[in-house]
Symmetry: C2
Subunit: 330 residues, 2 copies
Amino acid sequence: RYFHFCKLPGRVKGIRLLRFTSVVIIVLLLVAGALTALLPSIKDDKMPNSRREPKTQSQSALDAFTLIMQTYNRTDLLLKLLNHYQAIPHLHKVIVVWNNIGEKIPEEMWNSLGPHPVPVVFKVQTVNRMRNRLQNFPELETKAVLMMDDDTLVSAHDLTFAFSVWQQFPEQIVGFVPRKHISTPSGVYSYGSFELQSPGFGNGDQYSMVLIGAAFFHSGYLEDFQRQSEAVYALIDETQNCDDIAMNFLVAKHTGKPSGVFVKPVDIRNLEKDTNSGYSGMWHRAEHLLQRSYCVNKLVNIYDGMPLKYSNIMISQFGFPNYANHKNKM
Amino acid sequence: RYFHFCKLPGRVKGIRLLRFTSVVIIVLLLVAGALTALLPSIKDDKMPNSRREPKTQSQSALDAFTLIMQTYNRTDLLLKLLNHYQAIPHLHKVIVVWNNIGEKIPEEMWNSLGPHPVPVVFKVQTVNRMRNRLQNFPELETKAVLMMDDDTLVSAHDLTFAFSVWQQFPEQIVGFVPRKHISTPSGVYSYGSFELQSPGFGNGDQYSMVLIGAAFFHSGYLEDFQRQSEAVYALIDETQNCDDIAMNFLVAKHTGKPSGVFVKPVDIRNLEKDTNSGYSGMWHRAEHLLQRSYCVNKLVNIYDGMPLKYSNIMISQFGFPNYANHKNKM
């Protein structure tokens, strides 16, 4: 008589069964939740902020880019460049950032000379700021942004190729103007171009920035830029300079990689001398380069470290301009 | 009297509790298993088979590569090349695949002229096969393999740079000799080099293969090659050719990307004429190129499709050989 059997009425059995299953279900949910949290972040997470990407993106907008050009005091050059750029393949739209405060935009004349291949939007600014071009413009519908200075002409071939390169490196700045920082024994950084030697770096050279005055980058970085610290904005406004250096810091910090990929241009021109305004770019100011070294050091303080990384990769188009450009001259 | 309470002896309660918990545990294991199977494959999964990677890998082996050179009938050239390659930075070991069947290896002489910077292992083969070099050699301790034909000299600068490029594209073949396939209206493919025009492809050229006779690739691909179909081996043995094309198919299929990344060499030389054996490479055979077109079409049948993808990216070292090599000549 070790065992005492007990017949239970159905309802009690039911209740117990119910409790049993509910416990199992709850445990399942907990486990599922835990494991889901453990999922490795997939590639797209490394993309710059993509929340801003319009849900309803036209097919064309997916394989296209938006040209953002900031202009100040040389409308004649702007119009010349607009005529060049409006015919570039894969161009979706042009956004002109109008820094000529109080001056009328040439929209009427532009329209009177239409039709034009793509829409051109003039964004009238209230203050002449270097960083106006880094706004998260609502008119922007493409993932890819091509940013160009208003005195620089890059050939359609170079742009078409560079865009195809950007599509393979969408989280980096893909452009035509490489620059670098140099560490010095004093711990102070210096900014420069290829003429600045890298002590201790053997054969060849390196770059750690690609300027955004002639480059493709992901539009998500424009939203990320809106969340930069006030100190960064203050630095750019104080110098009216360095917005491109700040973008390289942003991208390098975001990716943990070199911020830029340098594409060697076949045909890039500075048209500054073609303007009648007589105005020449800010980079002619005596203090321009010193300011940029100053900005690098300031940004290192703000970031509490140096996120920029060096690269020595230079990309050219296979078989262009000459069909055997890959043959060595031995 | 709707409720009938029943006191159960502890043992029965125990058994029921036991059954309850065991059920929960089993369910948990099932769920865990299921969810684990759902984990998205992380980047490393895209790496070629990495099971083979030695667990106990010396630090040096992680930032180093192994040179695999297959040799046939030109030992004088081999020794000249061994003297060149043994001094290359990051070289961990040299594996010589000895296809001179029945012929004594020059180990004695090699050792008598030591010491040498890195170990050289002679792998004596029993059959002279093109694909002997694609074995999963147990002496191989590095992730990176540098495979070189026994008549090709590439400068130390080119190799050091290309290795740094491979470290950024470890799942692709990073090398100095690009080739391509061409589709024809008949649906038959043709194999060729840059002199072969790509109909309908506008400016510039494209490549869809990087030959492994002067290239870096992941050692895991040598293990993957061991699992190729018999038809692939038969094709290579029948032609004594095309092992490099087969590797490009393997890598393209594995990655879904272009199989290769082309690095423009500054100094690459064919030393064939320097041999006293008078033996000249198989690629001089009249049928060589026709065979390779034949192989492409055969492999497309075996793969039931064309996995090769085109690329038009050419990588050079920034600032080398001339420190302003990135400046355009405008």
